[in-house]
Structure formats: C-alpha cells, structure tokens
C-alpha cells in the first residue's frame, strides 16, 4: 500500500541491497544462533548420506533413534544444568549405576516393570541430588565436584558389576512391557524416541513457560539479580542437578531394557558426548541460555557423526577426535561470540551508502535571499537554563507553549513570560510536538513512538508499532525514531519515523550511512490503525499539513529537499518535489500566517560533507579508523529559518549572526506575530517578533481543526 520513495535518492536498484547489512542484521537475530548447528546438522547428514552406503535407510534410522534417545535424554538434563549456570559431568556414571540397578530389580528381584522404571529414575534423581547438595548447599565448584562424583559413581557401578554381572548374565526374564520400553514402537516410531520427544516437550514447556524454568534461567544469567529478586538460589540450583540425574536415570533404564547387560563401562565418556552435543547445539556454557530444541539438534549431530563413522567402519578413536575438535571449536565460538557479539555486529552494522546530490546553490552571492542578517539575534529567551534540548516547540490557542526536553520531559510554559512547568515525564526525548482539537499534546518520542499527554499530564501511547514488513530482516514494527508530526482536520496524524535502523541518540549514524531508512506514517484515530504511507524515505524529519489540507510536506534532512505527498484530492497518494537542492539541512517545517511555510535549517551544507556523501568508501574508513569525536559529520552549527511559498520558492532567511544563543535551530512556530525558536542542543527557547501586525488568524495556526 505504501509508496516507495527510493527513487528520490537517484540511485539504481543495485544499491538497495547490501550483503554486509543483511549479514549484520541477521547476526543480530537470536534465532541465528540455532542456524549454525542446524546447518551443521544438514551438512553432516548430507555428507554421510552421499558418502556412506546405507545411511538413508529406515533400518538405519531405527538404529539411530535408539542412540539419539539415550543421548538426548541426558543432553536435556545437561541443558537444564547449564542454563542454571552449572555443569554435570557425572551423568555417564549415573547411567551406568542405574543400568545395573534396573537389571538387578528386573531380573533378580523380579519387580513389576513399572516399579523398576520409577525406582530407576528415582535412583538417578538421588544421585543428582547428591551433586546438587554439594554444589548448592556446600558451595563447591560444579565442574570439579561432578568430576569427583563421576569417579565415585563409576566406582559404585564397578562394585555392582563385580557382584552381579555374572549372576545376571545367567538369569533371564521375559516381559513384554520391559522389551517395549527399549524396542517397542508407537505408530511406527521407536519407543525410546517417543519418550525423548515427550520429555523434550515437557522440558521445553518447563524452561520457557514455567515459573521454575524462568527462575533457573534467572539464576544462570545473573546470580546477583536472582538473589536480589528474592529467589532461593540453593534450592533452584540443586533442583537442576536432580532433574539432570533423573533424566540420566531414564537413559540408563532405556539402555538396560535394550541391552540387558550390566557393565561398569556403560556410559563411559558419555559426559563428553553430551557436553559436545549441547554446546554444539548452542546451549551456552556461560549459563542462562539454552533450549530443549538446541539440545536435540546437537544430539542429532553427534549421533549422526557417530553412526556415520560406524557405518564407514572407522575406528572409534576417530569419533573421539572429531568430538573433541567440535567441542573446542564450538566452545570457542560460544564464548567468543557471547563476549564480542555486540561489538562485532556494531562493527559491520553501519554500511555507508550513496545519494546523488546536486551541487549546493551559492549562498554567498551578493543580494541573494541567503545573505546573513541579525533578525534572530537578541531573541527573547524563554526558560533559559531550565530547558535542555527543546527540539520542537508548539503554542496552543490559549498561548501555552509546549516543548520537549532531552531528559525525557515535556514542558508547559504559560506564555512567554511564564515559568516553565513540568507537564509530564515521558521517558524519552520528545522530538515533535503538536496539539490536537481537545488540547491534548501529541508528541513524537525518540525510541518510543507517538504519545499523547493530556493537560493533566497523563501520558498514554497512541501509536507505537506498525505492521512488520515481511521481507525485512530487521524488525521494523517498532517506531524507532519518531521525529515530527502534524494533524489534519479529520484528526489523522501524519508523522515521520526518521530511521528504522538507528535510535534517537544515534541519529547521526543514519546521516553517515546515507541510505533511505525512514518512512512516513499515518495514524487514524477512528480505526486506531497505524499505516506506512511512504517507505524508503531518506531521513524524513519535519512534517506539515499544507494550508489547504490536501497534502503533507515532508523534509528530508539527508537529501536537502522537501516533498509534497498528496493525501486528498485527485493526486492522492502521489509524491512530488516541493523544494529541492536546498543549501541547508531542513529540519522542521510549519505553516506561516501568510500562507507560506517556515522551515528550519538545522545546519548549512558544506562542500566537505557533500563530497563525503558521494564517497561511501571514505565514510566506511572514517568510522572504522577515526575515533567517534573526530568524525566528519554534517554541519549542525550554523542554523537559520527560511520562509518558503506554497510553490517552494524561498522568500527570505532569518539568521542569528552572532551564533551565540541559538546555535542550532531545529524548529520554529509562529504565534501572534512572534516566531518561537527551538533547538536540539539549546538551553532555551527563543522568541522574536516577525510580524508587526496583530494578526489574530495566526493564533490559530496550530492545532487540528483550528486552522
């Protein structure tokens, strides 16, 4: 529906796309972390599928599903422990002990299968409980503690093996439900796999939806915060080990039912395979991050490699070597990436582009409208040293002045002589201010969207998100840099979102990037819907409804132009130039009392920046090699206000020749013969008389329906 304004940049289709930008945006995505292991999984499956005979057979699938289930259960337990900020190396030995115990219960004691299953899992949980007690309550180090319990449990397994293995080998008992656990099928799927899927689903729900899961994640992410939030760290930590032990017990039960064989060697080196699987799947060793899905992906990769190498008849040692290398590589990636992720993305996120820009008109030509003057010098200061960064200013029909503040305030000043009073703490820097028919103040807040502030100071969100563009990697549903707004007689609010890629305090990065990242939005109060009117617009800044209410004028700070976008009448939906190749950076635009428009130039163009705009490589090197405070930026120090006719003709310019009180002028409003001046970095508002005639019409310049 929205209109594409890309052509205004004067560049071709090829410039729309940037591999680097897409990559940076992709890397910023959380789900990308699962892409690498998933790609690896596809890779190893493809490799073994192509090189190994008999890999893609259903019987091989059945064979693998058993090992996947046995490894997967333990991996899920390990995931929970890792998410909780611990580690459990004793799992392999727990599997061995439970395997032997289950067989003793089944074969020698001849207990019912259900009892055997429950007790087996209970034994695993108890062994996990010992780990949990030592680590959570005695405060020992997880790695070394579980390494030692690994030894202790392994010794117990050997003890059982020594006493029972020869006896058990000669006993046999047949029970359908017992064989069913290890080798049965439900709807053609091997029973172990069914168990794994069910357990994985439960673990997924526990981790992502339950109070316990959230607490485990909280403890793993930051113990300090979790403690301050009143959580019982010891209990939560201990519970993760109990779960891990219970799942290892379940795995031991599966092995017992499948192999019916006691051996102290069962599960030897399992901790290593499991650790490799989960780390590879993207469960972070640093705690707090991990899902059941990732654990399963990692498990699959490890099992595919294991089975593939068996099919190829390779030595078992090769599997170990491959696992060790994978563990090292992925641990390095995990920890390095976790540490430097932000930095890395930041480094490549900004991708300078190019605009076609005409040569700037000569403002030094004698007698031109650009001649420097002192019309703004000596402007009356309002709220000096009280206000900080009033980017935009508006005066309502009662003569109240409203302006934003970079500390996140909205000020109300009762007339030019009044003291500023704090109307509301908005929470973000209001960049655009307007008043609607009911005297509510509408503001565009950087990083937040469009908000409404009532005369009592109540703040409420009006428009904070739009429908996401499906083909963009970056989520553009949030309104990142709402900049200016105006309201039509119908109450529809048109407002600009200057950048979909950079936040308010980084607006200059968008200027450096020089790509059309902005858009014009409209909000219809009758439907409550926000829609995109113009997309791919280069830094849309000021927005102003024309005097006849048929069109919207938009300033492009980056392309030094003003465009007219028709919202009514025969040309509805069309975009046409209003004033192009201006010598300054247009910021806000507002109606003047005489049927013309006021436009604020936040700064004048410089030949150096014009040149830089044509050289993306130059800017790329600059941001890489030069410290931020020495970057070449658009000039935002020499400001002026100009008057433009309905036809886009510049009539006059107003300057503060001394450049002292109003170094930056980003907005202006005419009210009752006076022009009110706002500036992004100023410590005051300014007021100068521009009209000798007391013109009552001009009082009604602002406010919807007040025209």
């Amino acid at each position: 529906m929205s209109r594409d304004a890309y052509s205004l940049t004067g560049m071709g289709w090829g410039n729309r796309f940037s591999f680097q930008r897409t990559l940076a945006e992709l890397l910023g995505k959380r789900w990308m972390e699962a892409v690498v292991p998933a790609a690896l999984l596809i890779g190893v499956i493809a490799y073994f599928g192509l090189t190994t005979e008999g890999f893609f057979t259903s019987s091989n699938g059945q064979t693998m599903s058993q090992s996947v289930a046995e490894l997967g259960l333990v991996a899920l337990g390990m995931t929970i422990v890792l998410v909780g900020g611990g580690i459990d190396l004793s799992v392999g030995a727990v599997v061995a002990v439970v395997n032997s115990c289950a067989l003793i219960m089944y074969k020698q004691l001849e207990w019912p299968v259900l009892v055997v299953a429950v007790v087996s899992i209970g034994i695993g949980a108890a062994m996990g409980g010992v780990n949990g007690f030592l680590i959570a309550f005695l405060k020992t180090r997880p790695f070394i503690t579980t390494l030692v319990t690994l030894l202790a449990y392994r010794t117990i397994a050997e003890f059982i093996d020594e006493d029972y293995s020869s006896k058990l080998a000669l006993l046999s008992r047949f029970d359908d439900s017992w064989t069913f656990i290890g080798a049965g099928r439900i709807a053609g799927i091997a029973m172990p796999l069914v168990i794994l899927i069910v357990v994985a689903a439960v673990i997924h729900l526990l981790l992502s939806r339950s109070r316990w899961g959230w607490r485990v994640t909280a403890v793993g992410s930051s113990r300090t915060s979790a403690r301050r939030a009143g959580m019982n760290l010891a209990v939560i930590t201990a519970s993760t080990y109990v779960v891990s032990g219970a799942l290892a017990g379940a795995s031991g039960l599966l092995i017992a039912s499948r192999l019916e064989q006691t051996s102290a060697r069962t599960g030897q080196g399992l901790e290593f395979s499991v650790l490799t699987a989960v780390v590879l799947g993207g469960v972070s060793l640093a705690g707090g991050r991990g899902t059941a899905m990732r654990a399963l992906i990692g498990t699959l990769v490890v099992c595919v490699i294991s089975q593939g190498l068996i099919l190829q008849g390779k030595e078992r040692y090769l599997f170990q070597v491959v696992l060790a290398i994978i563990l090292l590589v992925f641990a390095a990636i995990d920890l390095k990436w976790g540490k430097n992720r932000g930095k890395a993305i930041q480094k490549i996120y900004l991708v300078p582009g190019r605009f076609k820009i005409e040569k700037s008109p000569d403002i030094y030509e004698p007698g031109s409208v650009w001649a420097l003057n002192d019309k703004l010098t000596g402007a009356q200061a309002i709220g000096r040293d009280v206000l900080d960064g009033p980017e935009d200013v508006v005066v309502d029909r009662h003569g109240n002045i409203y302006c934003g503040d970079r500390r996140g305030y909205l000020w109300r000043i009762p007339g030019a002589e009044g003291e500023p009073e704090l109307l509301a703490r908005v929470g973000g820097h209001p960049l655009g201010v307007a008043v609607d028919a009911d005297d509510n103040v509408l503001i565009c807040v950087a990083g937040m969207g469009m908000y409404q502030v009532s005369q009592t100071g109540a703040v409420s969100g009006v428009s904070t998100e739009v429908r996401r563009t499906w083909y963009r990697v970056n989520d553009d549903s949030a309104i990142r840099l709402a900049d200016d707004l105006d309201v039509t007689d119908d109450g529809i609010v048109y407002f600009s979102d200057a950048s979909t890629r950079f936040d308010g305090d980084e607006f200059f990065l968008d200027l450096i990037e020089s790509r059309p990242n902005g858009r014009l939005l409209s909000y219809d109060p009758s439907t409550g819907k926000t829609s995109v009117e113009l997309r791919n617009y280069a830094f849309p800044n000021g927005v102003c409804i024309s005097h006849d209410g048929q069109s919207v004028l938009i300033n492009s700070s980056n392309l030094y132009r003003i465009d007219r976008y028709w919202i009514k009448g025969p040309k509805k939906g069309q975009l046409e130039p209003f004033a192009v190749n201006l010598p300054g950076i247009p910021d806000n635009i507002n109606r003047a009392s005489d049927g013309t428009y006021w436009v604020a130039f936040a700064g004048m163009r410089t030949p150096s920046w014009d040149l830089a705009c044509k050289l993306p490589g130059f800017r790329r090197r600059m941001i890489k090699e030069v410290p931020t405070d020495e970057w070449l930026l658009p000039n935002l120090n020499t400001s002026c206000v100009i008057k433009v006719t309905e036809q886009g003709e510049v009539l006059e310019s107003l300057w503060d020749g001394q450049q002292r009180d109003h170094a930056v002028i980003t907005s202006m409003r005419e009210y009752d013969g006076y022009l009110y001046l706002g500036g992004l970095t100023n410590n005051r508002l300014g007021r100068v008389k521009v009209n000798e005639v007391e013109d009552h019409d001009s009082k009604q310049l602002e406010g919807a329906g007040q025209r």
């Binding site: 070394i144 070597v321 920890l335």
Partner: protein
Amino acid sequence: MTNTTKTPTVAAVRRRLLSGDQGYIVGGLLLLIILVASVTLDSFGSTTNLLNAARSASTLGILAIGMTVVVISRGLDLSVVMTMGVTSAFVVQYVVNGNAELAGLMWAFVIALMLGLVNGVLVAYVEIPALFVTLATALLYLGIFRMAYLKTEIMTVPSEAHFMRWLGRDSVIGVPNPVWLFALSAGLVGWLLSRNLGRYLYALGDNPEAARLAGLPVRPLTVFTYLVSAVAGFVGGISLVSVSGSVDLRTVAAGTLLYDVVAVVVIGGVSLAGGRGSIGGVVCAALLIGVIGNVMTLLNFDTIQQALAKAVIVMFAIVLDSVLHPRDEETARVGEL
C-alpha cells in the same frame, strides 16, 4: 649468630602456621599417620615398605608438581594424565619399533612440549576455559596417537630400553630412582616458584586482571604453566612406565590417576581459586596419598573400596577448599574454577 639466623625462620614458620598454610597441616598429618601405622601395622614400618610407598607416590607427586604450577595460576590441566600416557607409550613404541631409546625420549619430550603448547594457546589466546580445553585435548591426544602411531594399548618395556629399566629397577644410595626423580622435580619447581617468574605466577593466579594491568605478560605466562604441566606429565610417565615395566593406555584413559593428582594438589594447600600453595605442601600431600594407599592395601581394602575412599577424601578436600577459599559465586561462571 645462630639466634639471629634462626629467629626469622621460626617467626616465618609461626606466621605460616597461624595463617593456616595447609602444607604444614598436611606434613603433620603425614607424620602422624606414619607414626600410628608403624605402631599398629606390622608390615608398615619396614624400610622396604616405606620406600615402596615413596616409589609408588613418586609418579603421582611428579604429575602433581606440574599441576601445581597450573593451579597456582588459576588453571587446571585435565589432560596431564593423557599427556603422560601418550608420551610414555610413544617412547615404548618407538623403542619397540627398533629405534634408539635416547632419541625416543627426546622426541617424546618435544611432543610433550607441543601438547602443552596446544593447551596453553587454546587457554591463553583463544580464551576457552582451561577445563573444557583440557577435557577435550585429553581425548584428542589419545585418539590421535592411537590412530597415528601406537599399535596396541598395552605394551611391555623392551629390554633394549636400558635407561628406563635402570630407572625403574635401580636405586642410588638406597633410595629408588623414581624417588630421586620426584625430589629433583620438586626442587626444580620449588626453586622456580621462589624466583621472579614464580611470583608472577602467584600474581597471575591471585588476580589475573591486576596482573595484566601491572604489565605482566599474562598470556605467555599461562602458556608456560601448561608447558610445565606437560613436561611433568612426560617425566611422570617415564617414571611410571619404568617402574611398572609396561604401558597401559586403557588404564590411563579410564583410571583414577587424574583424581589422585587433583586430590594431591588440593590437599597440599594449592587452592583451586589460584594464587596459593607451595611445593612443600604438595610433596607432603603426594606422600600422604601414597601412604594412605599403602595403609589401605595393608588393611585389606580392595580396589573398589580404595577408589571410593579416595573419592571421599578428594570430595572432602574440595569442600574444605571451598570453605577456606570461597569463590565469588556471584560472578563465577561455568568453566571457571
């Protein structure tokens, strides 16, 4: 004169005792157990038995000395036992293949350095936590050597290996050679730790960030500790193989020697938190573990009971260590010690 030289020593001992230097406690415990065991167990007190205990403790002691250097610098080398296994197996296989023993020993030394270098670089430069690095490299080294060079897992030291045969069987001045090797290693590393380099290692273990800000070459120092550990693995391996007359990689891979090494280091007062401990304490702890093993055998503990007892002792030592030198749980991460 005697007074002036003695007083500071006495004061130092008292200070260390008051500050709770574990080495002294362990030393006292060692003497106590030896005394009690000599009185109550007939076969214990004999010189042969004591020398045997010392001999069986020497391999453990040599490995523990290497590990001490790593742990003082706040690392841990789980691959030291495997380094020991593959380097000693390499020497035996090399000689079995009909090559000169000396060349085999030199090659094995070079290999040990390379294995240590891999560990060190992965820890110091790639910044993977030491535990994960050494857990993985232990399997990596075994796998690579088994596939590439070693024909079997169990090999007997051939009679051509004169040096190893001498090392394992003979003694100098009545003390078995491995014990000399142990003493020599302890002396060398003890001396090293008392030099500037040693102080750097303590500083590194106590507070790596402060050490870095103070201008210490933190990364090369870390690599150095793993080199020391790997060399200790090599020396300990030669000692073990010489004494036992055979090399058995299956036992190395599945055995409990690693736990004994960790136990000795922790019991010896080298905190896993880094920056603490002395070689004296570790030597005492190695002898203590050796004597305890010896006593357990004399008391008819079977291997499984011994392993369980060891696990309990190690666990006790670790719990004690975490009570005496608590880590900052708030900032601790998995993989850190």
